[in-house]
């Protein structure tokens, strides 16, 4: 199968018929090229949209309170209430399968007024009171200094971590670390600066954000023991939807909310969103594979077709070969190997060019921070190799039919064709 002579025989018969070889190869080349381009585009779209989500933990959720909608335990409906600090401990005790639980508060510049200032500069930004654990749920990229830590919370320190845009507005090019900014009249010391890991609008929003310790937030802005909302992360093995239900059950009991009151709490569950998106991506990639394989199949059928014509054209040659001692097996091997070599080679170049083009596009689009829905449209090596394997296999199939036809020709009939 692998002796040099056979290869020589194959290459010489391919090389001596250049146009035929080229036309045959082109179908396969084009098929695989299109498949790679389409797969790359699909991946680019998926990468882009996933990036937009910003590395938000896929099993995370956010829960807040709304108005009750059912009267319960002597309390009327339409009642407003807040999650409080004590609820956090209770949830941690009662709900298993929780990885991270972080209470949060947020301050806005009410009425559009500026709420954060430094020297004579000021701006309207979002201010969050947070626990360090929030980074597990919604990651940030700390570019200088540090994030708020456990000690900040325990000692209720007045420290703040600021977003890139906040830093630019208040400090320009100077170093903000250890400077004091005023938030709603209270001074906080800057301990770090961060960048968003998201893209697009979400990244802009992140850049205009400040983080201060949760405990300090409640004290400084008179929130008492009130919690704005809670962010939580289920352990990887658990269902986020179930954990969400467990948490609200605890909260309902503690706040005298009817167990069947679904409107008392609002929630955003990332895993549900992710599943929806994943479904969409799967559908797209399915479509791409179907279309791609179809294109490829057309190319391979083309090869088979041309091989049939070749066999017809080469009837005489095959007859001569058999008259001088070629066994049927050696004829079949020769025809099949020609088809395999042709499809593999053409496929390989299609693969190469396809990967080259997607890499080029990836380069042109630049790294992640692009505000586009399209990021890194490349395919991974495994898929490329799978495609190549499919190709070699189909090459064999494409060669098989003509090869079978070739050995059915009797040498005398072949030689009589004038």
């Amino acid at each position: 199968m692998f002796d040099g002579d056979r290869w020589n025989e194959i290459f010489s018969s391919l090389a001596k018929n250049k146009l035929r070889t080229f036309l045959t190869a082109f179908g396969v080349f084009w098929g695989i090229f299109m498949l790679i381009i389409m797969l790359g585009s699909g991946n680019g779209l998926e990468n882009g949209i996933t990036k937009n989500f910003g590395g938000l933990a896929t099993n995370s959720m956010f829960i807040w309170t709304q108005q009750t909608s059912i009267p319960y335990a002597g309390l009327p409906k339409g009642r407003r209430f807040s999650i409080v600090n004590e609820d956090i401990g209770a949830i941690k005790r009662e709900v298993s399968q929780l990885e991270v639980l972080a209470p949060r508060n947020q301050l806005r510049g009410y009425g559009g007024g500026n709420n954060v200032s430094y020297n004579n500069k000021s701006g309207n930004f979002s201010v969050y009171g947070d626990y360090p654990e929030i980074l597990t749920i919604s990651p940030l990229n700390i570019t200088s200094g540090r994030f708020i830590n456990q000690l900040d919370l325990e000692e209720e320190r007045k420290t703040v971590v600021i977003g890139r845009n906040v830093k630019e507005v208040l400090f320009g090019d100077s170093n903000p670390i250890n400077e004091n900014v005023k938030i709603n009249g209270v001074y906080f010391k800057v301990v770090g600066v961060f960048e968003s890991t998201k893209s697009g609008e979400r990244a802009d929003r992140d850049a205009q954000t400040l983080f201060i310790p949760f405990t300090t937030f409640q004290k400084a802005f008179n929130y008492g023991n009130r919690v704005g909302w809670i962010a939580a992360n289920a352990v990887a093995s658990a269902s986020a939807a179930k954990v969400e239900k467990d948490i609200t059950a605890v909260l309902k009991r503690r706040h005298k909310v009817a167990p069947n009151d679904d409107r008392a709490f609002g929630a955003f569950n990332a895993s549900v969103r992710f599943q929806e998106m994943q479904g969409l991506f799967n559908a797209i990639s399915m479509l791409i594979w179907v279309v791609g394989i179809g294109t490829l199949a057309a190319g391979i059928i083309g090869v088979s077709n041309i091989m049939l014509i070749i066999v017809k054209e080469r009837t005489k040659e095959i007859g001569i070969r058999r008259a001088i001692g070629a066994t049927p097996v050696s004829i079949v091997v020769q025809i099949m190997m020609e088809a395999i070599v042709l499809t593999s080679l053409a496929g390989y170049f299609g693969l190469l060019l396809g990967v080259g083009v997607t890499e080029l596009i990836a380069n042109a689009l630049g790294p992640a921070e692009g505000r586009t829905m399209f990021t890194n449209p490349t395919i991974d090596l495994r898929i490329a190799l799978t495609a190549l394997a499919i190709l070699v296999f189909s090459g064999a199939i494409a060669g098989l039919i003509p090869a079978r036809k070739a050995i059915k020709i009797k040498p005398i009939e072949a030689l009589r064709t004038e």
Partner: protein, 226 residues
């Protein structure tokens, strides 16, 4: 060398069948040079195809060098052809995209002889038929006589016991035909049995014996007087 006994062959022609060979008995000795003559339809090509194991026969026996040749599988037939027989055709049947040397070397490829050795032998045999300077030429750059000599070199390279020639001079002018016959004679003198199918008397007269076929039967086996 060749022993045919009561060979019958018919071809199905729609519902009926065409009885082409009606009992051929023939004995060709080792080292003989024989011609088979007959008008078209006499069955001479069929006989040659059977001798060349390119076709099967229905009845009788065919012994080649004491080996019974009957109902061979294609693979076996290919191996015997390669080992025992050399073919020369009227239309030369060279492979058009291979040069003279590669054409001559091709049978050895199927005997799994190494390329360098193959080509060395091919040059040797081309030299034998006087075409060594033409080794690198493609078939379409050669004259009819040269093509036939390349084909003969190809037939000889496996050192066959029998050389089968189907109208070897049919496409050649008479001068070239005689040259080819002279070449075949010299090959015969080296001990190879040569069987030539022809319909030209002057060609047949240059062999040792003429076997005349008519309507699928042998009507005469004449010794040629030199």
């Amino acid at each position: 060398m060749i022993k045919l006994e009561n060979i019958h062959k018919s071809y199905p022609m729609g519902k009926t069948s065409l009885h082409v060979l009606k009992g051929i008995d023939l004995h060709i000795k080792d080292g003989e040079m024989v011609s088979i003559m007959g008008s078209s339809g006499s069955g001479k090509s069929t006989l040659l195809n059977i001798l060349g194991m390119l076709d099967n026969y229905d009845e009788g026996t065919y012994h080649l060098d004491q080996t019974l040749i009957k109902d061979l599988s294609e693979t076996k037939a290919a191996q015997y052809r390669n080992k025992f027989l050399g073919f020369v055709f009227q239309s030369f049947n060279l492979i058009s995209f291979k040069n003279a040397m590669e054409n001559v070397a091709l049978p050895l490829y199927y005997q799994k002889v190494k390329r360098s050795e193959r080509n060395k032998l091919a040059i040797e045999y081309l030299d034998k038929v006087g075409l060594k300077p033409w080794a690198e030429h493609m078939p379409n750059e050669l004259s009819g006589g040269q093509k036939q000599r390349v084909a003969i070199a190809r037939a000889l390279i496996t050192q066959p016991k029998v050389l089968l020639a189907d109208e070897p001079t049919g496409a050649l002018d008479s001068t070239t035909s005689y040259e080819v016959m002279k070449l075949l004679r010299s090959i015969n003198e080296e001990g190879i049995t040569v069987i030539i199918v022809t319909h030209e008397n002057d060609i047949a007269e240059r062999t040792d014996r003429i076997i005349r076929l008519k309507d699928g039967r042998i009507i005469a086996k004449e010794k040629v007087d030199v």
